[in-house]
């Protein structure tokens, strides 16, 4: 299992190949990118702030739980922080499983929980300035 936080961009296929998972019939990936529109405003870039020590630990907790619940053979999560221009990748979640139903369910669970529990905050940089993106309430 790999969970990595970084400022640099990444190649989803190279990252997936690096894990050398064998015997998995199914692989499902989610890639999130910076959208160029927020409401009616043009977004030039995001500035992503995070809580480094907690982000790593929280995503690992999410990935370990999803791996067990959905019989995933392996999990890869990469999330960028810092300045990310429009249309660039923000996050990659790739999971491997024997059966595709598990792979889809596991990948979706990880990105859903990451979005509601991992301590990242996005600021959208638009022509009128920087605006914090409204967040998702975390159930405690």
């Amino acid at each position: 299992m790999i969970v990595r936080l970084q400022t640099a961009d990444f190649d989803p296929e190279q990252e997936a190949q690096a894990l050398k998972v064998r015997g998995a019939g199914a692989r499902v990936s989610f890639v999130g990118t910076v959208r160029d529109l927020s409401g009616n405003e043009t977004v030039k870039a995001l500035d992503i702030e995070h809580y480094p020590e907690m982000t790593q630990a929280e995503i690992e907790r999410i990935a370990v739980a999803a791996q067990a619940r959905h019989r995933l053979l392996d999990v890869l999560v990469i999330h960028r922080y810092g300045h990310i221009p429009c249309d660039q990748r923000i996050v990659l979640v790739t999971v491997w499983a024997t059966h595709r139903e598990d792979a889809f369910a596991g990948c979706q669970e990880i990105i859903d929980l990451l979005k509601t529990r991992a301590p990242f905050w996005k600021k959208e940089l638009t022509p009128t300035g920087g605006h914090w993106v409204p967040g998702h309430s975390t159930e405690v």
Binding site: E49, M54, L114, R117, P119, W121, G135, H136, T138, V140
Partner: protein, 79 residues
Amino acid sequence: MVTVRCFAAMREALGHDTLRFAVPEGCHTAGDILAFVTNDCQKDLPKPLLVAINQEHAALNSPIRDGDEIAFFPPVSGG
């Protein structure tokens, strides 16, 4: 000693990202620590405000102990 960390709009509202101080008398919960660092003046803080203790999600009424790292931040927006 406790460490208080603030992120995003909470960091901007408070003007600090990290504070370290001895646990004040009468402070038993994360909510007590929040009242202490904001001088009970919470009108300009982001709402709702989330809490983590030692890098795990917690609640305002969660107990705190000497040595804890207590974080306050608005709802998260990653992914």
